[in-house]
């Protein structure tokens, strides 16, 4: 895999000050150890789920998700069939534990990775084993995955991983056609 020297790119002339500030902050943010909204046990469940959804341990996905819930921020809509975001997260994480107990006799965070994947796949399919859910499991999974994915791919290390250099947009792009590449873009 091609590696960008992402920090060098962010600190270089092609990145605007506003963009640099945001991305360096994100790159340098320490992983969240103490959740602000979820309980420590719930947070461990969320961390374990995110580790399977986006398996790259360098990026803290659960931390920003907990922070959003703590701040009560919305992305402007939710499915009417779902409870509010905080209640949905709590109920969904409890559902993961319930399904893991039914399948493996352990809490989700304590199950091994293949078992965690089985639980997640069952939730995604809409028919997890264990106690009945208080919300649609498929919608919970979709929302969980979508937010985790957005947090992950906003991180400079994830962007480096996919060869993305769009943040380095100064003074602009001139080589924009098929098979065209600026020198500052990865090969």
């Amino acid at each position: 895999m091609v590696r960008l020297a992402i920090r060098d790119l962010l600190q270089g002339e092609h990145v605007s000050p506003a963009t640099r500030a945001v991305l360096l902050d994100r790159l340098d943010a320490p992983p969240v150890r103490t959740p602000r909204f979820l309980t420590p046990a719930e947070f461990r469940t969320l961390q374990a789920a995110c580790a399977r959804l986006l398996p790259d341990a360098r990026v803290d996905v659960a931390g920003p998700m907990d922070a959003r819930l703590a701040e009560g921020k919305s992305d402007g809509w939710r499915y009417d069939t779902m409870p509010d975001d905080r209640a949905a997260m709590r109920a969904g994480l409890a559902g993961l534990d319930g399904a893991a107990q039914a399948l493996a006799g352990a809490a989700f965070a304590g199950a091994d990775a293949p078992m965690q994947d089985r639980v997640l796949a069952a939730v995604q399919s809409g028919a997890p084993p264990g106690p009945a859910w208080a919300l649609p499991p498929q919608r919970f999974f979709e929302e969980l995955l979508a937010e985790a994915t957005e947090v992950f791919f906003a991180h400079p290390l994830a962007q480096e991983r996919i060869g993305y250099a769009g943040m380095a947009d100064r003074p602009g792009w001139t080589r924009i056609g098929l098979d065209e590449r600026e020198d500052r873009e990865p090969a």
């Binding site: 995604q124 994915t149 924009i176």
Partner: protein, 512 residues
């Protein structure tokens, strides 16, 4: 607490997007005293805006809405803006015109409704808006009635546009560089100053930090201010006050935690197809189907991977257009759609992969490793009005203490057939262009309808406003945004909202 009182003005305009901004500029230009109320803030793009999707979340209307029905519509970044400029802060600047037959769907197909106005009513305003914004586009334009040459040549085609062009050429589908409201050359904007030529950042949907894109913040809002209008930001309107005869006398707004009463001789509601009917319902104003006939454009996207490097974030996202599908010969549905090539930003794309394909774990990471080879095509198609697709006030309160809106949307047979036709067409185009692993993302775009304009005018049972935007029973309350659209039109709405806002302003001025 008694609201702070402001002296009476000729006009209060709620919202500074594609409806409110041109309208305010027109009214101020006619010498009226105008106050623009904007719920969001006034950004300094060059200094504050990052080339980063997550950091730009503040451009979207993020007060929570409840999405119901069989095809629940996403809001926030999908279609709803806040801040001076409204949704034009994050539109892609794609500005096709509606075609004449878009306004008479019922006459032509026996379904949907006709507009009480026609293409001819809007044509001079299309001309005016395109010339004022500095639209970059092809001249002559291949579809629809003749129009004046665009002021600027088209923007360059990016990888996605070249791929769609290649696929369409193989199938005999005509294409053209699209009309985009981003300047392909340096442009002096009246009331604002220099808008430098587009640098192909490709982040239009996360805010244009250079001013190349014709958001209302760099075009009609500065024009309105230059003509003497006053702009108040962070002003969220909660109340509309009327006298016993139904005349609006003023509005109540929360601004910086202070409740303010602004008295006015006329009120212009330009808050979009969700907040406009919500405000009417909160204030028990308007008769007829307020909130009903909510529409969202059929907007299915087809994504695929190509052997060539595409670089999906570079260049204007919607570089290429085809309107050959405006009225397809083999259609089993009413109306039609346009085709556009689409670039995409990484977080948006990854999120759609997660929701649309359900990929996660290593499969998601592997898919995203090919991001630089991804291109898309999108349709923008008509949507028939249905009374059950509607907005209502829910029992749940938001952070402001107001009922959250609940929006019901279920696609009808016509939308489903059009989407299926479009997916087949796009798959054929991308197959011909050499695509691999093509996949469709079903999607509904824009917020339209909810305060339909009707031919019968005041007293009509099936309309909320008359052809000039006047609310039934409250003739000095005028609506000028996408909520008045009787049908969705087979084109992106921004240009038509602007054109109709200028027409509405002129009609109001003529009637004074």
């Amino acid at each position: 607490m008694t609201p702070r009182l402001n002296g009476e003005v000729d006009a209060v305009v709620i919202g500074t997007g594609a409806g409110g901004a041109p309208l305010a500029a027109r009214l101020a230009g006619a010498g009226l005293s105008v106050v623009m109320l904007e719920a969001g803030r006034h950004w300094d793009p060059a200094r504050e805006w990052a080339t980063d999707e997550r950091a730009q979340d503040g451009l979207f209307w993020n007060d929570e809405r409840l999405s119901a029905g069989a095809d629940p519509v996403s809001f926030g970044r999908n279609n709803s803006g806040t801040g001076v400029g409204g949704s034009t802060l994050h539109y892609t600047a794609y500005v096709p015109r509606a075609q004449p037959d878009d306004f008479r769907l019922h006459s032509d197909f026996g379904v949907g409704v006709d507009w009480p106005i026609g293409y001819g009513d809007l044509a001079p305003y299309y001309d005016e808006v395109e010339a004022f914004l500095g639209v970059s586009g092809p001249s002559p334009y291949p579809w629809g009635p003749p129009r004046p040459a665009y002021k600027l040549p088209p923007l360059p085609l990016n990888g996605a546009a070249q791929l769609m062009q290649r696929g369409c050429a193989a199938l005999g589908i005509r294409t053209s560089p699209a009309a985009n409201a981003a300047v392909s050359r340096d442009w002096q904007q009246e009331g604002y100053g220099l808008r430098p030529a587009c640098t192909n950042r490709g982040f239009c949907q996360a805010g244009c930090s250079t001013g190349a894109k014709a958001g209302m913040d760099v075009t009609y809002v500065p024009l309105a201010l230059a003509r003497g209008a006053e702009l108040r930001t962070g002003a969220f309107v909660t109340g509309i006050e009327t006298d016993p005869a139904g005349q609006v006398t003023g509005v109540i707004a929360m601004q910086d935690g202070i409740e303010t009463r602004q008295r006015c001789r006329a009120l212009f509601l330009c808050a979009g197809a969700i907040e406009t009917p919500r405000l009417l319902l909160l204030n028990r104003l308007g008769r007829g189907p307020v909130g009903h006939n909510f529409m969202a454009h059929t907007g299915v996207q087809l994504w695929a991977r190509f052997p060539e490097r595409v670089g999906p974030t570079k260049g204007i996202p919607g570089g290429l257009i085809s309107e050959d599908t405006h009225r397809p010969a083999d259609a089993d549905f009413a109306g039609g759609y346009l085709l556009q090539s689409i670039g995409v930003m990484p977080v948006t794309y990854a999120s759609q992969v997660a929701r649309g394909r359900g990929l996660w774990g290593q499969a998601l990471l592997d898919h995203m490793e090919q991001f630089n080879h991804v291109a898309g095509i999108n349709i923008l198609g008509d949507c028939l009005p249905h009374p059950d697709n509607r907005l209502e006030l829910s029992e749940e309160l938001d952070g402001r203490g107001l009922p959250k809106p609940r929006i019901h949307f279920t696609a009808g047979e016509n939308e489903r057939r059009m989407t299926a036709h479009a997916e087949r067409t796009m798959r054929a185009i991308f197959d011909a262009a050499g695509a691999q692993d093509a996949w469709a993302f079903p999607r509904y775009a824009h917020t339209i309808g909810t305060c339909r304009m009707g031919a019968k005018g005041h007293g009509s049972d099936d309309a909320v406003v008359d052809r000039d935007g006047r609310l039934h029973g409250h003739p000095n309350l005028v609506i000028a945004d996408n909520s008045v659209f009787p049908s969705a039109l087979s084109c992106n709405p921004a240009l038509t909202i602007m054109a109709n806002a200028l027409r509405t302003a002129d009609r109001f001025l003529e009637g004074r």
